[in-house]
């Protein structure tokens, strides 16, 4: 009789543990779904922030083509202006609140040379800002990298495909 009672108690304890375990697992399941949703929202927000930051830069007066290459062009960066900006970058280093800004030519890409006053415009990449701080991975957008090109019939507008890459400071 005593033994039967003990088994009953054991059964009850086992049931309580099993049911608790089940609820914990179900709870974990819903928690993971919620975390997954949060993760997606965070990715989406980060994507929007990246877009805003890089687009803001590409269309800022210091970078954009303005009306130099015909009517107002979106995502157009004036290469001549950028070279001039690069020479005076110390005055602008805190203006955009970012750690690194780089432009890489995508097409046509002739060599891997970094742009200097000597090899411009026959170069492939230009580090406009390169702060010596811990930085996040680059966010980037494609841009039309435009400049005035000399030719026998006079200067003309030459636009190439490039990527504007921006990296924020990692404050964590």
């Amino acid at each position: 009789m005593k033994k039967k009672g003990q088994i009953k108690i054991q059964q009850t304890i086992f049931m309580i543990i099993a049911v608790t375990l089940l609820f914990v697992l179900v709870g974990l399941f819903f928690l993971s779904i919620t975390l997954n949703k949060l993760n997606k929202e965070a990715t989406s927000l980060s994507e929007k922030n990246s877009l805003m930051l890089v687009s803001k830069l590409a269309n800022s007066p210091e970078f954009s083509c303005g009306d130099s290459f015909g009517s107002n062009r979106p995502n157009c960066v004036d290469f001549d202006k950028i070279m001039s900006l690069k020479r005076n970058i110390d005055s602008y280093s805190e203006l955009w609140g970012v750690a690194k800004i780089e432009i890489r030519k995508i097409y046509p890409s002739t060599n891997n040379a970094s742009c200097t006053n000597e090899n411009y415009p026959n170069c492939n990449s230009l580090k406009i800002l390169n702060k010596n701080v811990k930085s996040l991975p680059y966010d980037s957008v494609f841009i039309a990298l435009c400049r005035k090109q000399a030719s026998q019939s006079g200067p003309y507008d030459k636009c190439e495909l490039a990527r504007l890459m921006v990296s924020s400071e990692d404050r964590t």
Partner: protein, 159 residues
Amino acid sequence: MINKKGQDEMVGFAIIIIIIGVIILIAIGFLVNTREENAIQDYEIESFIESSLQYTTDCQDSLGFISIRELIIECSNNNLCLGGNSSCYVLNYTLSRMIKKGWTVSPQSSIKAYEFFAMADNQSIIMFKEGNKTADYKSGIQSFARSGVEYSTSLNLYT
């Protein structure tokens, strides 16, 4: 006899709990580890098309070198470049190379295939593609109008 039956029930219940637990843990693992492997964002494709349209091609008309945007219009009118090349040939040649340089398209990369369309008033001007299409894709569209004709370009990247 009763004890034995109770023990059997307990073992059965334990097995059910273990099976449910394993299924839930696998589901949790799957959900938590589902990361956005597809790093391509829609805005990147949009910016690619927008910037590509401004690219200065090797095709010249009477006013000078023309952009991809102008080249699409020339191609829809079946015009030739000053050098004698077909505008559609130059368009195809330039854009396909730009896409290959801009995106890594291969069975091993995150982009398995691409498809590019240019249309004038919903009629296809040019279309080219590469790779094996999959069910998942991201796309970008840019439209512009000239002389009452609406042109649109779209790029689909299959991941």
